[in-house]
Symmetry: C2
Subunit: 214 residues, 2 copies
DNA sequence: GCCCCATCTAGACAGTGTCTAGTTATACGA
DNA sequence: TCGTATAACTAGACACTGTCTAGATGGGGC
């Protein structure tokens, strides 16, 4: 039987791994999930993949490159998760669409705390990297369009799009970050994460878009 | 003349530093401000303070201990900054008080991005540390009380205190985190940070507390 | 004045990122 | 089919790190 772990380690006796790059990224994910972001090292990642300690540098340049690639992978996965959620929810109007997106954002962050962390870290890689900024920018445009749609549909007066966009992203991002930092969780032990996520997102959206005027 | 740097380095020829603990914390701050969180090492911090590489371990146990102490120092400073801001603003009612607090929170994070980062990191120290949790908890209670006061004053119907507290903290925290990560800033180059901070905080507060009912 | 003990030093060790020169094997053009 | 350019990977070296030890120093309380 070929387990998932087999695809991580290099086939014995072979010089070339075959798909080392993605194997190293999956090793990074495993390490972060099990022992935290601080446990990631090029050498340990190489060890898991069964290659020499210098091999990762060839694919990512240096450790910053590995973390940046992991962050970009996170953006890809998050965008995919959001699109999947929206497809499943089939929201009827703009505000419902926004709730669906917001919930999916927070849910992804809760389910992948390590990777979400890395996606927004200031010190692990060059923040000016074009691909990295591009991933975040397209997410921003997506959110801005969603909110503009709510306004166009008459759920709120025009002119507030920029402020609402900042508020909406800030709220879901802050909720995710605070939850993962253990602050919200420690104060509301009895709170069901999914219910809280839904409740908060619906409350904010209702406040921003109280309803189509007569 | 006695510059600030003099108080960092140990007086020559003396064995005991005198106030090594706080000198090490200030060295940490300097390092983070100038070269990022990743640049902090016990040895470099010791070098700046002019002591041997093993000295910091005696005060903080290990590197986690240093970062935890730095995080706690951040909480102290942030709470102080918020109280000072509220005193200066002299807000007339609950919502105005909340705006004052929110603005001060974001302003502190913008002015101290490195320390703010460390305050909420999941991987630099033991999150279950009692002092660390205590600092955050008292901030939470403070915010919850503020929002309860808005409700008591009739600015919103009762029952929403918990949800509003989560929304309010999430929003300011997310705004601070996104701004520091370079995302908001990169999209709104022309935006004045202070004006944006004020605008967003006032918009959210107005949405939550539209006004005292007749 | 004396002694306890907090403070600090200095060396050792394993682990790390990165650099370099060299080895292997794959893809591709003739 | 063969050669070769080149991508993929190895292995050793180096400076640096956190942490552990044994020991040196000197300030404060009795």
């Amino acid at each position: 039987m070929r387990t998932d772990h087999d695809t991580l380690t290099k086939p014995q006796g072979r010089y070339h791994h075959g798909d080392l790059r993605s194997a190293l990224l999956r090793a990074t994910e495993t390490l972060i999930a099990e022992h935290g972001t601080g446990a990631v090292s090029l050498r340990e990642v190489a060890r898991i993949a069964g290659v020499s300690h210098g091999a990762p540098a060839h694919h990512f340049g240096n450790k910053d490159g590995l973390m940046l690639a992991f962050a970009q992978d996170g953006w890809d996965r998050m965008i995919e998760a959001i699109l999947t959620a929206v497809e499943a929810d089939r929201p009827g109007d703009g505000p419902a669409f926004l709730v669906s997106v917001g919930k999916a954002y927070v849910r992804f962050a809760m389910a992948n705390p390590g990777q979400f962390d890395v996606m927004f870290r200031r010190d692990l890689y060059d923040l000016r990297d074009r691909g990295y900024l591009g991933a975040g920018d397209s997410a921003w445009v997506f959110l801005e369009d969603t909110i503009q749609r709510c306004i166009d549909e008459g759920f709120a007066p025009p002119g507030a799009a920029q402020t609402f966009t900042i508020i909406a992203w800030s709220m879901v991002h802050g909720l995710a970050a605070l939850w993962n930092s253990g602050r919200v969780r420690s104060r509301f032990e009895k709170l069901d994460p999914d219910r809280m996520n839904e409740q908060v997102n619906e409350a904010l959206t209702t406040m921003m878009f109280p309803g189509r005027p007569a």
